[in-house]
Amino acid sequence: MPIPVTIADDSLLSRKVVRRALPVDWDVEITEACNGKEALAAVNSGKAEVLFLDLTMPELDGFGVLKYLHEHHAKTVVIVISADIQPEAKRLVDSLGAFRFLQKPLQPEQLKQALVELGLI
């Protein structure tokens, strides 16, 4: 059974970059979300066992998504992929229960390493 994975980012380029960085032999079913609301909709319909989450998005930003998931004790494994790399952003993301904080521009090796560490591949 493929693992349901959602990529949430308002930028088409960034979603493409994440897609390309996923290991080719990882059996996943990918859903794309353009904002936080779509990301939560994906989570609530079982399409996001793993969620790759951007922070700066319209409608509802990544912090809002994390907060919702945290409050609802969601089992989604969230990997934040962010252009905002200030220590403060990372601290906030950690406190909201994200599993990993990866910096943009995304390095495929770092993504792979995170997936290995989290036991996903």
């Binding site: 930028s11 252009a83 905002d84 200030q86 943009k104």
Partner: protein, 191 residues
């Protein structure tokens, strides 16, 4: 508003700028130990007249620097007068600032923000762009003749240091001849 770019190219440029401004904000945040709020980058087409008419605000200072390489152009940093003393304080300048130390502060800030923005942007596209040192700049309409382009691409990012009420904006203008270079490189990234 935007005739030079397709929607996909605009999205890609915006994201590349977003990533480089993240790096610029991080450089400044670490220097002044304060959180910096980022906004969504703005990408538009401008004529020299439109560009100059943006630079008429007397509540700010301007610096200017040019860059050369595979892409060429100009960077203007717009730095708010409000809050600049607070930033000076965070950067260990003695207050009150005299003219020389004020200029030094503004040029230092411009260089950190513009440098990180441009370097991050160029690196992601594997383009070369070397930035000259910034100088203080008082825009006047007479400067228009210096611009050798008819219409070009402008990329604008805003930084806000909330705790100090300080705002800054980095405006990158590409020379017309560099737009094509940029678009070709961008297309390779999108394929």
């Amino acid at each position: 508003m935007n005739t030079l770019l397709t929607e996909e190219q605009r999205d890609a440029l915006q994201e590349l700028m977003n990533i480089s401004m993240g790096q610029a904000a991080n450089a400044l945040a670490r220097l002044i130990a304060a959180k910096i709020t980022l906004s969504i980058p703005k990408i538009s087409d401008v004529t020299p007249q439109q560009f100059m008419s943006m630079l008429t605000d007397d509540s700010v200072w301007y610096t200017r620097q040019s860059f050369l390489g595979t892409i060429k152009g100009e960077v203007v940093a717009v730095l708010s007068k409000e809050g600049s003393d607070a930033i000076a304080c965070l950067m260990d300048y003695d207050l009150p600032l005299n003219q020389d130390s004020r200029d030094e502060l503004l040029l230092e800030l411009a260089n950190i923000l513009a440098g990180a923005c441009l370097t991050g942007f160029a690196e992601q596209l594997s383009l070369k762009a070397k930035l000259s040192m910034p100088t203080m700049y008082t825009p006047t309409m007479q400067h228009i003749e210096q611009y050798r382009w008819a219409s070009t691409l402008m990329m604008e990012v805003k930084f806000n240091v909330e705790a100090s009420h300080f705002d800054s904006k980095i405006v990158i203008c590409l020379e017309e001849s560099s737009v094509q270079t940029l678009l070709i490189t961008l297309q390779q990234l999108l394929e």
